[in-house]
């Protein structure tokens, strides 16, 4: 019952925002710049029917998914390899921090230059963003391993390899999963930003294209679709993470 109430309240908030937007656009704000929900809905309906929205969604989804998978695998592998050596960790620490500090969006023009205006540059951009986030989180997770638990596992008879699988990995899993989760919307952002720079399709292209033709309903529609995709992915990931980390006390699991 509580859940239903909550949903109703949230719907009320959505209705209020949409209502205010619809009512104020025109009399108060120039609807040429801010558009209005009815116009956006019409725009969305039209592009759904013609299939153009689906095509753009598919392009961006492809870039995001491929990029994410490449980046996640590379990030995990790099973290596990580097975490093996204490020396490497100490030597490389400032460099890793420096690379992590680069505003990732600043890489987009470079990547378009290197990989062209087709899918490759967007995939690489999404991959880079994912790699950094996954690497950093996983690396911290492995390095924060509980020494006492490791000793206990060794005394209980674990070999080096068993120790890795049965202690280091599960111990790092909350950090790892946090990195993998944060990286999904960020990979999407990476792909869309690369599309802003140069592209021939995708949600980023849609937003840029409609802006250049002063079609504010189209731009708003693009932003709203992007928002919904991120929201949907976030909910899905929370579910998966909640199941994987069911061994953690409840109040801790939302810390990540």
């Amino acid at each position: 019952m509580k859940d239903i109430r909550l949903i109703i309240w949230r719907l009320v908030v959505v209705a209020l925002i949409l209502g205010a937007w619809q009512g104020l656009s025109g009399p108060v704000f120039d609807s040429f710049w801010v558009s209005r929900p009815s116009a956006i809905a019409a725009w969305l309906w039209k592009s759904i029917v013609t299939g153009s929205l689906g095509a753009d969604l598919l392009i961006t989804a492809k870039e995001t998914v491929y990029g994410y998978l490449i980046g996640a695998v590379a990030g995990l592998a790099l973290a596990f390899v580097l975490a093996q050596s204490e020396r490497a960790a100490v030597v490389l620490r400032p460099f890793i921090l420096a690379i992590y500090g680069i505003p990732r969006i600043a890489l987009a023009p470079l990547f378009v230059l290197w990989f062209g205006i087709a899918l490759a540059s967007k995939i690489m951009m999404a991959a880079m963003v994912t790699l950094l986030l996954v690497f950093f989180n996983t690396y911290e997770g492995i390095r924060s391993a509980d020494l006492q638990l490791k000793s206990v596992a060794l005394v209980l008879g674990a070999s080096r390899w068993q120790l890795f699988w049965n202690v280091t990995l599960p111990n790092a899993s909350p950090w790892m999963l946090a990195g993998l989760r944060i990286a999904i919307p960020q990979a999407l952002v990476g792909a869309v930003v690369a599309e802003f720079i140069a592209s021939t399709g995708g949600l980023g292209y849609l937003i840029m294209d409609t802006t250049s033709t002063l079609d504010s309903a189209g731009t708003m529609a693009g932003i709203i679709v992007l928002m919904l995709v991120v929201l949907l992915l976030g909910t899905l990931l929370d579910r998966i993470e909640g199941w994987l980390l069911r061994w953690r006390p409840q109040e801790k699991s939302d810390k990540a």
Partner: protein, 263 residues
């Protein structure tokens, strides 16, 4: 170097490098642990009791002296030894059941089903069968320590080392667990126990012998045989006159060492 002793320490010392130079935790420790005995160890705080256990199990190497297992010198982790630490150290991502099977899993003992059956049996003995599917954060301190003990018992180690396992528990839980530990030990003839505690009543109530350690650097100051008969009733043993004599005797040694720490 006879095999009557399961573990033997000869002139064992251990120094650590600290921020203010070298700290000697243990110095010239000679200790013979006969097979099947329940040995308790008391001593002032910081006298290196935990270091002693870490050396016996092989997590720490001594900087001096020799250690023997069943008559043979050894170094490194000894897989015949089980170690129950002060904090429960359960794996939080494994259920109670899979914590108990951990040692068997790692050693590849038996089939999966046998391991599970064995673990459930042990959990039954400590009254936690219904909690087999729970995770660490769902258990109380006393329950966690029970799981910790049966996790170590599961692979039948020849020696069990326990480092103040009941320290953080309340009196009722502590008595129950002492009683439980005695029963589990008596069911496993030949199993040797080395039990560290800061509670003299516990040391005398459980042990065949009480080792009193000196203030740092830790040495063996005195070994007092506990002449109380077994089986013992842990709930009433402190009223026995022999118990009181022993308590006074050991307390005298301990108090002197504690004073030494103050100065």
């Amino acid at each position: 170097m006879t095999a009557d002793y399961i573990v033997e320490l000869r002139g064992v010392g251990r120094a650590f490098r600290g921020p203010r130079g070298e700290v000697v935790a243990l110095k010239d420790v000679d200790l013979e642990i006969p097979t099947g005995q329940f040995l308790t160890v008391v001593g002032p705080s910081g006298c290196g009791k935990s270091t002693l256990l870490n050396i016996i199990v092989g997590l720490i190497e001594p900087t001096r002296g020799e250690q023997y297992y069943a008559g043979k010198p050894y170094r490194g982790i000894n897989r015949d030894i089980g170690y129950v630490t002060q904090s429960d150290n359960l794996f939080p991502w494994r259920t109670v059941l899979r914590n108990v099977t951990f040692g068997l899993d790692m050693r590849g003992i038996g089939r999966r089903r046998e391991r599970k059956r064995r673990a459930l049996e042990l959990l039954e003995q400590v009254g936690l069968r219904d909690f087999a599917g729970h995770y660490r954060h769902e258990l109380s301190g006393g329950m966690r320590q029970r799981v910790n003990i049966v996790r170590t018992l599961a692979y039948n180690p020849r020696i069990m080392l326990l480092d103040e396992p009941f320290g953080p528990l309340d009196v009722q839980n502590r008595l129950q667990l002492q009683d439980l530990l005695l029963r589990l030990w008596q069911d496993r003839p030949g199993t040797t126990v080395v039990f560290i505690t800061h509670d003299l009543t516990e040391a005398i109530g459980l042990g065949d012998r009480v080792v009193v350690m000196s203030a740092r650097p830790g040495r063996v100051r005195e070994i007092v045989p506990v002449t109380l008969p077994r089986p013992r009733d842990i709930y009433t043993i402190h009223t026995d006159p022999t118990f009181r004599d022993l308590y006074d005797r050991i307390w005298k040694h301990l108090a002197e060492e504690m004073r030494a720490v103050e100065q």
